[in-house]
Amino acid sequence: MSYFSDIINGTKTLITGMRITGKYFFVNLFTRKDVITQQYPDNIDTLKMFDRFRGEITLYHNENNEHKCDACTLCVSACPNGSLEVFGDKKPDPETGKNKRYLVKHIYHLEMCTMCGLCIEACPQDALEWGQDYHHVQYDRSKLTKVLNKPGSKLMSGIKG
């Protein structure tokens, strides 16, 4: 007896399950109400990340191509992986005549970065910030090493070096 009741029970539960999948299939086929998948490479222009999304580290530049980094290297010591390298130099300030530190090169190794955000927290000037770019794929590993300060950029006035 249990042989036949097993078959009947099995068919019954199978139909219950098929009803759920069938419901989704037909509802989404005609209304696309519950569709959650995205056509990824096609929607690349409209795809927007959340504000806090941690894509990469960037150095903030304002419209006059000025950044806030005075090369204090606190971010370098905060980084657990050695993803940041900061090269600074000193030159006399035209106003006071004292030696002032300035940024020569802010190198970022994206291939080593784990996006822990400790450099951003360590920065006393809030010079570093998150970038929303997620498209990091490269054919060559060396292309992932980036120079964060833009060419010709200089220190924002009001930041003491």
Binding site: T13, G17, R52, G117
Partner: protein, 372 residues
């Protein structure tokens, strides 16, 4: 004829290599099976394919830098792992965090637990052969991942806890999104039961399979839902309440059958419990600061420290030996997956290979957690 067969042909036990690149082993886990035909006689585990020496790496990192490494242990309960480090340091330095921080941490823990169990449910169905569950599980998980991404900035390695609180305050959409999720998930969980739990084919595959007694479960040091399926009470949230677990009302889910189906039921019921915890807290997030100021260089006083939290897979413990420096002298993680995996041989004695996959799935292993 029969005499001829016994004279000329003989059977013998043989070894079969399962993994390390096998979709049913949930990562790079290699199982050495000793088989008699299709019947399992012995299962040996070969670990270490993704050993990253995280414990050793912790010894050269400051306490702030350790937190992001614990994301990479059990990546499906990364929030609990982060919390363990933060709670340990806060306990050692007597940092009192505000109620807001405690409640938010608890809510994030429960969201992580649901997202982990939902993923497990999908993969469990897929291991048995029901491909649909995988997509349905990911549908709910996607909603939680969006909540995480909006508030924490990442979907998997959230890294949201910092020593003395949280990295950011809650996003303004957080409460709205969590309420939406609770409403949505309450409708979908009964659907899970209809689709998979009550299915006769599925039930026959896991009922009475992979049995482990309560005594053996204690002897093997099982924890989390795997042990609670055998009737062992081991919920750290009840035994040593941390964060806001002492003020919420929830039950420790225990089933006593000890088979795969009991472990399955524990996880399904835990999702209901997590939902109820979320419901209790979502309207009562207290006002207050989200981060307590700490020193720039954190040094733990000399001594040994231990902190346990209930991760999605069980009891996650972190042990730190400090010599008073800014780096820990020794860090040891006690991962739930490792203890659970050791019982696999006991559970699968005399079963078939197809059952091994089902049993392995109900243990719910995450290999990076086991290998560290």
């Amino acid at each position: 004829m029969e005499e001829f067969l016994t004279d000329q042909l003989k059977t013998q036990e043989y070894f079969l290599n399962m993994g390390p690149q096998h979709p049913a082993t949930h990562g790079v886990l290699r199982l050495l099976l000793k088989l008699d035909g299709e019947i399992i006689r012995n299962v040996d585990m070969d670990l270490g394919f993704i050993h990253r020496s995280i414990e050793k790496m912790c010894e050269r990192n400051t306490y702030k830098q350790i937190i992001h490494l614990t994301d990479r242990l059990d990546y499906l309960s990364s929030h609990m792992n982060n919390e363990a480090v933060c709670l340990l340091v806060e306990k050692a330095l007597n940092i009192e965090v505000s109620d807001r921080i405690k409640v938010i941490r608890t809510m994030m823990d429960e969201l992580t637990r649901i997202s982990s169990h939902v993923l497990w449910w999908g993969v469990m169905g897929m291991d048995i052969g029901a491909l649909t569950t995988f997509m349905y599980g990911f549908r709910e998980r996607e909603m939680i991942n969006d909540i995480f991404e909006e508030t924490c900035g990442a979907r998997l390695t959230m890294n949201y806890n910092v020593i003395g609180g949280l990295r950011y305050d809650l996003h303004e959409n957080f409460v709205k999104r969590v309420k939406e999720f609770i409403k949505h998930f309450k409708k979908k969980l009964p659907e899970y039961d209809k689709l998979l739990t009550n299915n006769v084919i599925f039930r026959k595959r896991i009922e009475g399979v992979g049995y482990i007694s309560e005594k053996d479960a204690v002897a093997y040091g099982l924890n989390g839902p795997t042990a609670r399926g055998s009737g062992v009470s081991c919920d750290i949230r009840k035994i040593h309440p941390y964060s806001a677990y002492d003020r919420v009302d929830f039950e420790e889910v225990i089933f006593t059958e000890g088979d795969s189906y009991a472990r399955y039921k524990v996880r399904i019921q835990e999702m209901w419990q997590s939902l109820s915890i979320l419901e209790q807290l979502v309207d009562k997030i207290p006002e207050g600061e989200y981060r307590v100021k700490t020193k720039a260089v954190i040094k733990l006083p000399e001594g040994d420290y231990l902190q346990r939290v209930e991760a999605a897979r069980g009891d996650f413990g972190i042990f730190v030996k400090s010599t008073g420096q800014k780096f820990p002298y020794r860090v040891k993680f006690r991962s739930p997956g490792f203890a659970n995996l050791t019982a696999l041989n006991k559970m699968t004695q005399g079963l078939k290979i197809a059952d091994l996959v089902a049993v392995l799935s109900t243990i719910d292993i995450v290999v990076p957690d086991i290998d560290r």
